[in-house]
């Protein structure tokens, strides 16, 4: 695993992996949209409006998954000081916030025709809203320091503290009386959702996951390139002040 720590190696691997991820994401999302809109059956109660589920549920799964990933990367960054861990956590945060926002907005659009309201303060919706603000707080914290490593480590601690929200989100529909329905897929006793709906849902979920992977790789590569550009800028500045020894030291590995 330590061999992946080298940023140059990561750049080579991600350059090879990225096109496959991106094309696979496009394929799965296209297939998922076709399945969701045309192949999957309408719900006996909700009719065609149930098709919002094929966006809302995968987005919700990604929202929690990305936070767990962010917290895991943060823990790795704190414990082993792996240089890519902090970059991965920082890159994942806006993506997770985006998925959470999609989940909240699509849920709201679904709730208006189904529940008769744009919003309700039940345990599931409230805890996902708290997750959204945890993402925003993390992004604000990592950007609040002039020194990037300080920001990354502070954010890492915050991300780990916020992990307590994930089981609350998952079990909120069991612990409280919620308007939001209980789990139909990830539950003891297997999924209760019909197979004709489950498969398009899983295809969309895989598509979302691949989309996240592709975007994460792009963001991580961008962060590494930006760090390299900063280092080169330092070199250029120092060469301008005619201090070759310092310039040589500044040519060190990208942050």
């Amino acid at each position: 695993m330590l061999s992946f720590a080298n940023p140059a190696r990561f750049m080579r691997l991600s350059a090879a992996l990225l096109p496959w991820c991106a094309w696979a994401a496009g394929l799965f999302l296209a297939a998922g949209v076709v399945l969701a809109l045309f192949v999957a059956p309408p719900d006996y109660q909700q009719g065609e409006a149930v098709r919002i589920m094929y966006v809302h549920v995968p987005a919700a799964w990604m929202a929690s998954f990305v936070y767990a990933l962010m917290a895991g990367a943060s823990a790795v960054g704190l414990i082993s000081r792996h240089p890519l861990a902090d970059i991965a956590a920082r890159a994942a945060a806006p993506l997770g916030a985006g998925f959470t926002l999609v989940c909240l907005v699509s849920g709201s659009l679904w709730g208006k025709p189904m529940w008769g309201t744009w919003w309700v303060w039940d345990a599931r919706l409230t805890s996902v809203l708290v997750l959204f603000f945890l993402y925003l707080g993390y992004i604000a914290l990592v950007n609040a320091f002039d020194e990037p490593t300080r920001g990354a480590r502070a954010g890492a601690i915050l991300a780990i503290v916020g992990v307590i929200n994930l089981p609350i989100i998952k079990f909120s529909v069991d612990w409280w009386n919620t308007l939001h329905q209980p789990a139909s897929v990830f539950r003891l006793g297997g999924p209760t959702i019909a197979a004709s709906m489950l498969w398009p849902l899983l295809v969309m979920a895989v598509g979302f996951m691949l989309l996240f992977a592709a975007l994460l790789l792009v963001r991580m590569r961008t962060a590494l390139i930006a760090a390299r550009a900063r280092a080169l800028q330092i070199v250029a500045n120092e060469a301008g002040t005619r201090a070759p020894p310092r310039a040589a030291r500044a040519m060190g590995p990208a942050q």
Binding site: L78, T126, V130, F133, L134, L136, G137, A140, L141, A144, F145, D146, R150, R153, A154, I157, L158, I160, V161, G162, N165, I168
Partner: protein, 221 residues
């Protein structure tokens, strides 16, 4: 043990000398609670309905006020580094500082809350639940707030950032605190909600000092 006691006494003495914190927090609490009847109108039934929520939310905001200075004074004059070098674990010192912070801010809030509840026509049955809930909830607020205070030490616009970080983590305390009051007001048992508040305190008391100490070590690097 006596070292921790001396740390608590030191913080109390400093707070007393500066004089500002306890009085400011209490004054903010009183003033913001008074704003609500002026804003929503004096109708007793309406005020009674919103009283638990208003009291808890303003207590939350009042305790946020004093959090930024929890570690800042020690950080700026270098005594935080000295404390970190002491043989006592930094986590224990953080716990001691949180306790002192609670004595200076949370305890006055808990004592003032029933008096302000009179102004909001809170149902008589809810007073014990209010005081018990605040007594259990305000230490948790100090502990969770210490995490935010440690992480934002030396950050740009630390005060506002602290609020953004800490308020989502305060939400469970708020929900159960208000639920305890409302349950008591409607004649139900407040005990389950108070037990959940106690559970949050029991969870925060050992864990929050670790996160806050990690944040302090980060700030001292």
């Amino acid at each position: 043990m006596s070292a921790l006691r001396r740390l608590v006494l030191r913080d109390l003495r400093l707070a007393l000398r500066q004089g500002g914190d306890a009085a400011t927090v209490a004054a903010f609490f009183v003033l913001t609670v008074i704003l609500f009847p002026l804003g929503v109108g004096p109708e007793p039934a309406l005020l009674q309905r919103i009283a638990p929520g208003v009291l808890w939310v303003t207590a939350l905001l009042a305790s946020l006020l004093s959090l930024e200075r929890l570690f800042l004074a020690d950080y700026e004059d270098g005594s935080l580094e000295a404390l970190a070098l002491m043989p006592m674990p930094l986590e224990a010192q953080v716990a001691a500082k949180c306790f002192a912070h609670w004595l200076v801010t949370g305890l006055p809030l808990t004592l003032l809350a029933p008096l302000l509840a009179l102004l909001l026509h809170l149902d008589a049955a809810a007073y014990p639940a209010l005081v018990a809930g605040m007594a259990l909830g305000t230490p948790t607020l100090s502990l969770i707030g210490a995490i935010g205070a440690a992480l934002t030490l030396g950050a740009r616009r630390g005060g506002v950032l602290l609020s953004l970080l800490v308020l989502p983590l305060y939400v469970p305390v708020l929900i159960f605190g208000v639920a305890a009051c409302e349950a008591a007001a409607q004649g139900f048992a407040a005990r389950p909600h108070l037990l959940l508040l106690a559970a949050l305190l029991v969870l925060a008391a050992p864990l929050a000092p670790f996160a806050a100490a990690a944040g302090l070590r980060l700030a001292l690097e």
